[in-house]
């Protein structure tokens, strides 16, 4: 037996002695400690799960409500407003000019949203500062053309797969932005752990990769989607 261990034994003896002396107080202290532990644990655990996600994201209302359902009924399918330009690049959210192909500064309907649109933007020829739910960071190059005009099945996807049933929405939900990263919450997904039920619940690189693996058996090379 090495000398350390000898000493150790010895040390523990008087340690035990002390314990014996102060048993009652110690127990209470320990008990109290346990209670404190439980309380602290519960508080932090719950706030981590419930409060933190709320604090992490800031909410922004869109400049005014947009009724997709109405517009699809009036103007036709998604492509009639969100289209590929002649050079194959994606037009994204329509600019004021394309809205004014139908709209004038005279409202067509009675909704106050349209009124706002006509007065604040059409009349003043100001672009609408929409928040883009599906906005990807600058490092991403996403080719809509490849996904809707591509060769195989993979190249003929419908909007819903990634964007969800937004075409059926009658009002604009608030845009949530991650305070740290500036990302739209739609990228990481509603669920704080990033779990998803539908294909459109999340728009992270992994989601692209998974689909690519399914479709062409390979998640592709970096430059395919990065710039």
């Amino acid at each position: 037996m090495s000398e350390i261990e000898n000493k150790a034994e010895h040390g523990s003896m008087d340690g035990a002695g002390e314990c014996a002396a102060g048993d009652p107080k110690d127990d209470k202290g320990l008990g109290l400690g346990v209670i404190f532990f439980m309380v602290a644990f519960l508080v932090c655990f719950l706030s981590g799960w419930l409060l933190f996600p709320k604090l992490l994201y800031s909410k922004h209302e869109q400049p005014f409500n947009f009724d997709h359902e109405l517009h699809t009924a009036e103007a036709g399918d998604c492509e009639s407003c969100h289209f590929l330009r002649e050079d194959g690049t994606w037009s994204g959210i329509p600019n004021l000019a394309s809205c004014m192909e139908c709209h004038t500064d005279e409202p067509m309907g009675e909704t106050e949203d349209e009124a706002i649109f006509c007065e604040e933007y059409v009349a003043k020829e100001k672009e609408v500062p929409w928040f883009v739910y599906s906005k990807q960071p600058d490092c991403v190059f996403f080719s809509h053309a490849a996904h809707i005009n591509g060769e195989n099945a993979a190249g003929k996807m419908d909007c819903k797969t990634c964007h969800g049933p937004i075409g059926e929405s009658t009002s604009s939900r608030p845009y949530e932005e991650n305070r740290i990263t500036g990302y739209s919450r739609d990228i990481w997904g509603k669920n704080i752990w990033g779990f998803k039920k539908h294909s459109w619940d999340r728009m992270k690189m992994d989601d692209c990769a998974n689909c690519h693996v399914e479709m062409d058996g390979h998640k592709g090379y970096c430059f395919q989607c990065h710039k």
């Binding site: 261990e5 523990s12 314990c19």
Partner: protein
């Protein structure tokens, strides 16, 4: 005033004296910390690195501390696996030195990368082909192992040990230490090796590239071997220094001689391998790529042939011989010379395998690139040294690091 914490029966200097020492070293430490924050907040433009010197002083320091920290795993291996029980007298200290070296290595890495907050990508988005990935994984795992190996020693602190739980924990950990020692040895083999691989796989750099076995270039094995060989020398050196400072004999000669002897044979065998490797590289590998040896050593005074001679003969073969010959090994002076040379030798080897690689031009119309580190680089490189000194001081003062301390200094006690 802190006597309650000092191991029973052990004599330590007065607390104020101790604190003054700590303050002095602490000042150096703070200087390093300041430089560290400069690098983190202002970026690596604080260094003198450039696009030719992507790897520089820091990476050298990294490789060096990990090499000389190799004493921990090797001594552990000998003590727990090969059951050379004599080494129990130095194993604690070897572990502490290893712990210091590896924590320093990790710290330096954290400063060295351009995007510290993305550091974890190396694990999350690991590229299995990269030697650096292998390094990162093994390094951090082995650091965990070292921590575990260090814990029982901490728990043996007089006060902690009074807590029955801690006491038994320490006791049982001693028991299972063999498993950790084995794991440690295994991990070390790979990260020491892959650090060597880092250079060896650069097939765009004729000064570094080596052929090898499967995916591992010869430098992989050379680095592992050299770490095992020179690591213990550093352990011995630090022990010697600690003894000098404390004015006490802390480890018995028997143990010292044994470890020195083992180191000696390791060094000698390593040098044989290293010399074969160098000759093969100089006469086969490099020429096959259009480079003669003179290309690497004759452009400037700093990277001249002297560096090759110094590394291989003066700081390699010589200490090896000094340590295998009984007479010189057991003569304190020659032994000291040997372990100092050996420590220099392995650091020199790491220097060459990092900085000279960057200095040598590869394109026929390219130029040599020399570099002088900025003060921020120097300060952050000295930081770990200061931190090491402080940790050793604290450990020595409050932990029963040297089992033989009491017995070896009985005579002194009696004299009082």
């Amino acid at each position: 005033m802190d006597s309650a914490l000092i191991p029973e029966g052990a004599k330590r200097c007065a607390f104020p004296k101790f604190m003054i020492g700590m303050a002095v070293v602490g000042a150096v430490l703070l200087w390093g910390v300041y430089a560290m924050f400069l690098c983190w907040f202002k970026g690596l433009n604080q260094t003198n690195m450039n696009d030719y010197y992507g790897f520089a002083l820091w990476i050298w320091a990294d490789l060096a501390v990990i090499a000389i920290g190799g004493g921990a795993f090797f001594t552990g291996l000998l003590k727990y696996i090969f059951k050379i029980d004599e080494l129990k007298n130095i194993i604690n200290f070897a572990v502490i030195i290893g712990f210091i070296c590896y924590s320093s290595a990790l710290l330096i890495l954290a400063i060295d990368i351009g995007q510290p907050l993305r550091g974890w990508f190396i694990f999350w988005h690991a590229n299995v082909h990269s030697m650096l990935t292998e390094v990162a994984f093994c390094l951090s795992c082995y650091f965990a192992v070292l921590t575990i190996e260090f814990i029982p020693n901490i728990l043996e602190n007089r006060q902690l040990n009074k807590v029955p739980f801690f006491h038994h924990l320490a006791h049982n950990m001693h028991g299972v230490m063999a498993i950790f020692a084995a794991t440690g040895a295994f991990l070390s083999f790979f990260h020491q090796g892959s650090l060597g691989g880092v250079a060896g796989v650069m097939f765009g750099r004729p000064f570094a590239v080596r052929e090898g076995l499967l995916i591992w270039p010869w430098t992989f094995f050379l680095f592992t071997w050299s770490a095992a060989a020179f690591g213990p020398c550093f352990t011995l050196l630090v022990t010697k220094i600690t003894e000098a400072i404390t004015g006490k004999k802390l480890v018995g000669d028997k143990t010292i001689h044994l470890l020195a002897k083992i180191a000696g044979w390791m060094i000698t065998t390593y040098m044989v391998a290293k010399i074969i490797d160098t000759i093969y590289w100089a006469t086969v590998t490099a020429p096959s790529l259009g480079f003669s040896l003179s290309h690497f050593y004759t452009n400037n005074a700093f990277y001249g042939y002297w560096i090759l001679i110094a590394e291989i003969l003066v700081c390699g073969v010589l200490p090896g011989i000094l340590l295998i010959m009984k007479s010189t090994r057991e003569n304190p002076t020659t032994r000291l010379v040997a372990i100092i040379l050996a420590t220099i030798g392995v650091c020199l080897n790491r220097w060459v395998m990092v900085l000279q690689i960057m200095a040598v031009p590869v394109m026929s119309f390219d130029t040599w690139a020399l570099y002088i580190p900025s003060w921020q680089e120097v300060a952050t490189t000295i930081l770990p040294v200061a931190y090491g000194i402080m940790l050793i001081a604290v450990a020595y003062r409050y932990l029963p690091v040297f089992p033989q301390e009491l017995e070896l200094n009985k005579s002194a006690k009696a004299a009082e």
